[in-house]
Amino acid sequence: MLSRRRFLRHASAGAAGLYAATMVRSRLREQYAFAAEMGIQPEEAINLANNENSLGPGDEVMDAIDSVLGPEGVIAGRYPFRFLGPATEAIAEKFGVSTDNVLVGAGSTQILVDATHQYASADKALVGSLPTYEECFGYAALMGYRTKAVPLTPDFRMDLDQTLHAVKGSGMLFYCNPNNPVATLVDPSDSKDFLTRALDTEKDLRILVDEAYIDYVTTPGHETMIPLALENPRVIVARTFSKAYGMAGLRIGYAIAHEDTIAELSDFHMGNSVSIPALVAANAALERDRSNPDFLPDEKKRNAEARDFILKFFRDRGLSATDAQTNFIFTDVGMPVEQFQAACAAEGLRVGRPFPPLWTRCRISIGTMDEMQRAATKMARVLDSAMKMAA
């Protein structure tokens, strides 16, 4: 049995890796070259850069992994197939769908690539907001696909009207809602209607709805697009265990779609990409959802409280943030984000990377309340010292 305390001790040991040098990927996806040697005590370091859940997946999940492995881990010598079925069934059961409506991937990342590969091309553009999560656009750039990036509205929301124009003649709309990195949500009363209009506007269009952050949405009336995806083969919903479920390190996510669409995605999808511990963990987490229906709502509430705290911190300083519906905020920091990022790093705090073209806005992930309070102290020093310099 892995106690919570022991788990958190492991967790803080994990923070030592923050300053292990990270590698810059040569493409758009994630630019992490940062803070290699900061000389900061690991236990003081706080990582608010990658929208992870500091609390991890919880005891039930850790215990499930631990017990499947057993003392000697013998099962790890076997290919994962026998674990894929149960995990797929558990996902299907969560949404009351058939296993033919589910495709499990190594994080929702793999689903995003599968869909981009299948539905965008050199002729048929990938459409998305600017900025949005980069995976689809990164893959499209690599493959030489046509892309159309639609600027956000002045309040950092997706510009639905412009997007409707952009989808004409296009292959796929990447609809990240809530939207990473800007944290905003499309008005729930507009969302389904907009998707329907987009599908009507372009008869060949596919829509990939990325719901990575849906468990953190606090706007009343927001709904998943899974029912639409089941009804319309041109809509795919991507989900992940990396956020509210706290399993970013395990690499597991999934698509929910019409069975014909799942078959199309599967045609490109590289199978056998998800490890046994990840499949076991997903299964255990969904089992806990059934036995403890409060788990996700509690996590949403915990996140919302820490999010409100840090939003107030910026508001009190006259810095405006977007209406965050995620486990991160997107805020004006009153200086170039690279400068803010470097100054925070010197304080032992990692915040989000720049998201062009919004050069003075920073994405800051939501950790525990304790982490946010300590982060606020550090960011206060950074902001104060910048103000003094300016004065």
Partner: protein, 398 residues
């Protein structure tokens, strides 16, 4: 429905449609069977729960799993489970640096993948196309051929030599002007190896005559080789552009369930493969386990010895019963059973022993049997004797 075949960059693939997915239950078969029948399909595969006394010797797995150091390394990574691999206490870059160091390079010489299948697939995506053939052997790991078909790339599958080895001379000839050579050494499913001297001659010839042809040296079974002339081709990879070695932790390291493989080569070569790799494809627990396993070479040495003993027992069983197994350098044997692999497989499965799939063009004569524990092989060979109606031809068989 839009065609689902799409080539790399602007090269439009022209492979045929694979038809609708039929996601039926697959029982008693391994990964390779599933891949062989499903191509790229990654749709759910349902296996029945393991029976206590069943013997699974179909997928060339290490029956004992990872060593204690690796399992400890996996558990030590629990604390990073909520972190993306670049933020883990032991990061993906740490593992790449460690592996790169083993070959005299750095992290830039290594790309990780969730199993070496992704390495093979991406190699074919990068280096082949409608005008750039894949060269492989007629009876070798089929994964590259499936990807090449999907890419619309010509495939030159060179027949095996009499001893079921790779015909390196003919493959070298076919390589001139080709996009990629897939050289599986040791070869799956035949279990044969080629010495470093022969592989060096092969690579030097191809790179001289056809400098733009890439060569993938698949060394999935590297650790199990006991042949004295065999060594890794990694030095060749570090020396030549577009030559690279594929490795996996799925075999001797006992981590098939953890999904870690890698390619090593010149930084320029790796930089062509890396952009196609899944973003953060490898889990932090797997990274922790792989990293720790590299610090425990004794485990691999013991595993190789254990496998060699069980392999020798299995080979001796067949030869002492008048059959003719190919001398194996791997954790499986390929044996002429004189009848269809399918009949044999099904008869064995009825008795709780699960052996390998068909391997054309030898599907009517040869079976591939993975090496389990010695105890498993003792029980399995009793089943083989019953199924094949074998009588011992001498007294060596115990």
């Amino acid at each position: 429905m839009k065609s689902t075949r799409r080539g790399f960059l602007s090269l439009a693939g022209s492979g045929g449609g694979a038809g609708a997915a039929t996601l039926h239950a697959i029982s008693a078969r391994g990964r390779e069977a599933w891949e062989a029948e499903n191509g790229f399909r990654g749709a759910p595969v349902f296996l029945p729960p393991p029976e206590a006394d069943e013997i699974r010797i179909s997928s060339n797995e290490n029956p004992l799993g990872p060593g204690p150091a690796a399992v400890e390394g996996l558990r030590a990574a629990y604390g990073s489970i909520m972190r993306y691999p670049m933020n883990a206490a032991t990061s993906d870059t740490d593992l790449r640096r460690k592996i790169g160091g083993m070959f005299g390079g750095g992290p830039e010489h290594v790309v990780l993948a969730p199993g070496s299948s992704e390495i093979l697939r991406n190699a074919v995506r990068v280096y082949t196309g409608p005008g750039r053939a894949l060269v492989t052997a007629e009876c070798s790991y089929e994964n590259p051929i499936r990807t090449a078909n999907w890419m619309g790339a010509p495939v030159k599958a060179i027949p095996m030599t009499g001893g079921l080895g790779l015909d390196l001379d003919k493959m070298a000839g076919a390589a001139i002007g080709a996009g990629l050579v897939f050289l599986c050494n040791p070869n799956n499913p035949t279990g044969t190896v080629h010495t470093l001297a022969d592989v060096t001659d092969f690579v030097n010839f191809v790179k001289k005559e056809s400098p733009y042809t890439a060569i993938l040296l698949d060394e999935a079974y590297y650790d199990y080789v006991t042949h004295p002339g065999f060594e890794t081709g990694a030095e060749l990879a570090m020396k030549h552009r577009d030559v690279f070695v594929g490795r996996t932790f799925s075999k001797a390291y006992g981590m098939a369930g953890l999904r870690v493989g890698y390619a090593v080569g010149q930084a320029g070569t790796i930089s062509k493969l890396a952009p196609l790799a899944l973003t953060f494809g490898t889990s932090v627990l797997s990274i922790g386990a792989a990293m720790a396993s590299l610090e425990d070479p004794d485990y691999i040495r013991n595993e190789v010895r254990r496998n060699e003993e069980a392999r020798k027992f299995t080979l001796d069983f067949f030869s002492s019963h008048g059959l003719d197994p190919v001398p194996s350098e791997t954790n499986f044997v390929f044996v002429d059973i004189g009848r269809s692999a399918r009949e044999f497989r099904e008869a064995c499965a009825e008795r709780g022993v699960f052996v390998g799939r068909d391997f054309p063009p030898y599907e009517n004569s040869h079976a591939r049997i993975s090496i389990g524990t010695l105890d498993e092989m003792q029980r399995a060979t009793a089943v083989f004797a019953e199924v094949l109606g074998l009588q011992a031809t001498d007294n060596q068989q115990q």
